[in-house]
Symmetry: T
């Protein structure tokens, strides 16, 4: 299992609920086209503000998967 | 719309509930005196511990708003 | 009180619930052997993915305590 | 002259022409309300893309001025 | 519109004219195969020197686009 | 006390005596217009040289204060 | 030749022998699907430990290739 | 002598006098329990402000010692 | 297995042979007193030079192990 | 050709016209005393402001050349 | 005056007295062979420990001077 | 011995064999013109790829020597 080669891609998920949900949105979107997702790392957490309230959260992830 | 100039300020919000709530506290405080808040970026997440439990969370944000 | 010396250690907590809970797990584990925990700072947020879903979250903390 | 104290603020200028012009836009906007601007440092260069072309450039600056 | 997921790729454009042109070259090349480009961020600016003169400029960009 | 929101500003103090004195100059200048200063963090230490001797020291600080 | 546009991808190779071999494993795997690989840069070197011995090495690379 | 293995720990010293004294306080405290201290590196310099004056300085150090 | 808490320590190994050997020296020394070592990450690679030749290599590692 | 050894030096060019011209000024100055310049990398972009206008631009470069 | 080109070199001064003195030692040594020193920036502060006491301080500086 | 002043230069060595050999090539080249080399630190590891194989490795070092 140790001889695997991984590829890392960077994706950004967004959510109106919070940071953890923005991560879930990004992972689930990535899983639609990439199999063998293994781990992720949070690269940046941002958000948008409208009328003095947070309208949505954006989390950018480095996501790694096994190259077959 | 593209010709706007933005200013970024750094603020730290704190909360006993968690990180997302500390962000909300910071944004709502900033919105009391600054109009036209547009986006934020998390710069640092810290917290205080008392008697072996997290007593409150502190999140530092870079917050941008339009200069009119 | 100002003359205290602090030591910082780095620990990683994990949780199936989310990032804030992974921080709590790490702090409570550290509190079992280290007294006088004072503050923490999030150094890195990662997670594992199995079958296209987040199986658990991992948060690495720098945790400081007073040297007596 | 050496005993001056400077304050640094972060602003972002945007332009449809290019990066140098975005810096000029930011400096001229800041000069409307802040006197004694002394120097700037480029912190980040970004841009927006519409229909496969750059629609405008955004340059974020740290700008310092003398506190009187 | 907030629920979009973005992917970021890293590309390097080169030009004999200057930095802004190298960015344009990179964006136009990327636009040939990727739709929905949204924004870019300059990651690195380099160049080659031949016979004591700049022969071409190279700018590396992080370019984000919407995943459909 | 935990629910406070802090704002951070960046200032640069200069001194002919040394680094610690440049910090003091910056803090005392800031205290003239900003109340409730709480802590500072050194961001950069520079200096000027004239005729092969240090003519003055410059220390840039991030200074935080409570928003009331 | 100067007008080329490059794309950079991030891959991680692993090896039981050492760091240089982990780089070779990653490059050879990438070469199976990507032509025109030009250069790489080491981004991170890690490894796994089992029973007090290094079981395998992992090297993460940024690898660039020419877009045709 | 070259085959030594070093361990690095992170400690924070504080002082009412200045930065160099805060370093000395940290080293002397560490020397009470750790033998064979070899070198240190300043990681961060902070301070607290009360009533517009610096009340104490805090310097965080990475301190290395020989593992016997 | 996911609920484990890890602690990370920083150690530096040295070797006259090369970088990979310096990592092995550090891991084997750490394994004498710490059980459950899991992974390491290279933080810094340095070396000493005597009479124009490398006399030994020094590699600093962050090493993680499970807290039981 | 691969066995070359390069040396990198850091220089800062200034110009009243803009960033690209400041790079050209630096390269041409360096070429007067150093042969075999090969490539450069932009390390920092700054500028001076007088009376609310940019008086000149300063670009700091890492410039590499072949050691013969 | 604005058309000057600067070169930056990196030097490390050491002192038994403290950090500011280590900077002075470095600047005075550099001034013996390099004219037109203009400014410096502290890059790193380290020190050596012998018998539980600081034996000397080491400060690494980037020092810039005008190329004539 | 503590009162020495060090100068650091940045050089890049290349090798067809591997990373450690590229470091040796750089050190031996530097030793031809600079006496009193003391230590080095790896700043960057890169390589070139031709026909899907690593053609040579490039390691950039910061190398320090005593100023006499």
């Amino acid at each position: 299992m140790n001889e695997h080669v991984y590829k890392t891609i960077e994706i950004t998920g967004s959510s109106q609920k919070g940071t953890d949900d923005a991560v879930r949105v990004a992972i689930e979107k990535a899983a639609q086209t990439v199999h063998n997702l293994r781990w992720f790392k949070v690269a940046e957490t941002r958000g948008c503000v409208e009328n003095g309230k947070i309208s949505y959260w954006q989390v950018t992830l480095d996501v790694a998967f096994t190259l077959e």
